[in-house]
Amino acid sequence: MNPYFGKDFLSFFFTLFSRVFEAFFKKGEGVELVSDEIQILVLMFTSISCSILGAFLILKKKAMLANSLSHTSLLGIVLSYLLMKGIFAQKMLTFNPALFFLASFFTALLTIFLTNSCKKIFKLHEEASVGLIFTFLFALALLLVSLFTKNVHLGVEAIMGNIDIADSIDVKLSLMIALINLAALFLFFNDYKIFCFDETFAKIVGCSLVFLEYLLMIQTSMTAIGAFRSVGVFLFLVFLTAPYLAARLLSSELKKIILYSALISFFSTIFSVAFARHLLSVYDLALSTGALSATCVGASYPILGSALFIKKKILRLSYKEKTKEKKKEESFA
């Protein structure tokens, strides 16, 4: 029985904190994760991955390339699904780490290789190359889906995700991806920074541009495919972009931006899970938690932006008031 069942927004947090305390004191004995907590964990780990990736992708102006990868990863998923079905005759949504990595590598490599070939060999401009390749690979994936699986749900799941049926395997998967991204951040922070800021300089001081580009893309496609289950491959783009944009309003230091974006993303997702539960309990409204969390994360940027704007206006008004008063005083003196 799910302890969050029937809880509204505030009691959700009560339950959450009490369960966390319990787990802490009992050292995790006899505590089983329920679906809401699984959702929180999966979204938390996804937030971490996307905050790390998002900063570098945006700074390197590869956000639309991440969009491209999110589409082409469907091809990777479909091919690995066909492979699984053919070789292992397994249920689609069972997690198989080897095939997951295979799908990620294959997707990233294929997309980047084809896109770069279009730019270098055919001299097609950036946007056309990206657009041509990803629509092609995505359409190919859809054709394969309709020809071989007759399973429309694969397409829907990939796009919309279905975090409501996430289980502990997904927690492990998203944790693993988060750890990989953290490791990459730790090892390559300065390299990525130089690579994103000044590619020419990076090349001259000895960074391997090819290595860094492919590494970044493999991380992205891995995160995209991992997010396929939680929020769907398209919505993970919100997690990449919105937290960075919001955090950028708060700081100009790259390390802090990444940290703030992870925190913003994390709190937005907890809020959204609680809110989803609230809507279900109080209004009997069953919304997709994945979409709700994507919307909340996405809204963090305009909300923060407006808050800061209003604060600036208030400060300016009060400054005007103060100078007016000062002038009055001076004119009386």
Partner: protein, 437 residues
């Protein structure tokens, strides 16, 4: 059913003709976007239409009790509105100095998230509306009927007309924005026109191929057209025609697969069109007569081959009465063995060498003249480098080794005139006179 019957049969003509109209307008607008290097804006706009359609469907249900006519038009209107909204939001972000890249990505994913959220509400509470929404997400050309032909036909005609009227202005504003604004073509009018066309064509497109695939309809036809023509108006026309062609081929493929003799496959038309058009795009990029990558490579190889042939002739020319055996020639390292054999074969065929015995070769009279001509070009160039370009005597030979293969008869004429028909080169070697071949 014959091809013509597809156009008249009431079941097939809806999907076919409506899709044809749609692909003409998406290809046309895609061509303009391609020239402006803004192909990916369509991606953001098409994803933005999704929440528009969702809200439109809800509005028609709640405010118009699901009237069929309203249910048809309102979602399209909302879709249009949301696409315009998306553009406004992107503009706002650009003003705040965010890069176009992140602005497009953020707006596209955020609006899509809102759309998916509303969709999830509809999935549980208004299943019929949800199914309607799905049609716009994935496209469903198969269920289009005559009304669609008229509506989308009319809209596509509108797009084509606007593009035609503003053709010249569009051309100038794409290539030379400063010039166009100086002659009075206000850039915001052009931007607005382009915006309007883009949004309209996307809204037309989402019904048959779905939100996600509209971008694909816009890029490939332009890529194909670009490979064949550089003239702007031809390019626009060609893109539209290719768009229609690919739509037609896509439809045929789906039709054949569905009515196959052995097994039937139900394949959605959108992906079929895109796969076909991209494959054709790759073929054009590789093989187009002027710009195809493979064609260019073949020309490079042909040039390399002619260099080898000419180098061999030059070698023979040094001792014109001597014949050489293949083994001796191999040592001179003109090329690998097989290429050398082929080159010698070619030279014999062209009449510049004659074969004496199995692998002995000797220069013919024609060969002598041809070789002399190349040496002439080599030495003229060396002289030119020294007298007019102040090069050093030691360095000119290497340059001439390359340039001798490139100098055209016109350039040779100019050199002869400029250098006053010289007789001797910088190394005191005689310059062969020009003989008629």
């Amino acid at each position: 059913m014959s091809f013509l019957e597809l156009f008249t049969d009431p079941l097939s003509r809806g999907p076919l003709i409506a899709t044809l109209f749609m692909s003409i307008s998406t290809a046309l607008v895609g061509a303009i976007a391609f020239i402006r290097k803004k192909s990916l804006v369509a991606e953001t706009l098409s994803h933005a239409t999704f929440p528009g359609v969702a809200f439109g469907l809800l509005a028609s249900f709640f405010f118009f009790s699901g009237n069929d006519l309203i249910l048809f038009y309102l979602p399209l209107l909302f879709a249009f509105g949301f696409a315009i909204l998306a553009q406004a939001l992107v503009e706002k972000m650009l003003k705040e100095k965010k890069s176009a890249d992140v602005s497009l990505c953020y707006i596209l994913s955020f609006l899509l998230a809102i759309g998916v959220l509303v969709a999830s509400y509809m999935q549980h509470s208004h299943v019929m509306l949800f199914k309607n929404l799905q049609i716009f997400f994935y496209g469903q050309a198969a269920t289009m009927h005559d009304t669609h032909i008229y509506i989308y036909g009319a809209l596509s005609l509108l797009v084509a007309l606007v593009a035609l009227i503003f053709q010249r202005a569009i051309k100038f504003s794409c290539f030379d924005p400063l010039f166009s604004s100086s002659v009075g073509i206000k850039s915001w009018i052009m931007k607005g026109t382009f915006s309007f066309l883009l949004t309209l064509s996307i809204v037309i497109g989402i019904r048959s191929v779905g939100v996600v695939l509209v971008t694909g309809m816009m890029i490939a036809p332009s890529v194909v057209a670009r490979a064949f023509t550089k003239k702007f108006s031809t390019f626009l026309l060609a893109s539209s025609l290719f768009g229609a062609l690919f739509a037609f081929l896509g439809y045929i493929v789906c039709y054949l697969l569905e009515n196959g003799a052995e097994s039937t496959y139900s394949v959605p038309i959108g992906p079929a069109i895109i796969v076909i058009s991209t494959l054709v795009a790759f073929i054009s990029l590789l093989f187009a007569p002027s710009n195809g990558a493979i064609i260019k490579q073949m020309r490079k190889w042909r040039f390399q081959k002619s260099c080898i042939l000419e180098n061999i002739l030059k070698f023979f020319w040094k001792t014109p009465c001597q014949s050489y055996h293949l083994i001796h020639l191999k040592k001179k390292q003109f090329a690998s063995f097989s290429i050398l054999l082929f080159a010698l074969f070619k030279l014999v065929k062209q009449g510049y060498l004659k074969k004496e015995g199995l692998f002995e070769y000797r220069l013919t009279e024609d060969g002598k003249k041809k070789a002399a001509y190349i040496v002439r070009l080599h030495r003229l160039w060396e002289l030119y480098l020294i007298e007019y370009l102040s090069s050093e005597v030691e360095k000119v030979h290497q340059s001439a080794e390359l340039i001798e293969h490139i100098i055209t008869p016109e350039i040779e004429d100019k050199l002869t005139k400029l250098l006053l028909n010289p007789k001797v080169d910088p190394h005191m070697q005689p310059i062969p006179i020009k003989e008629v071949l």
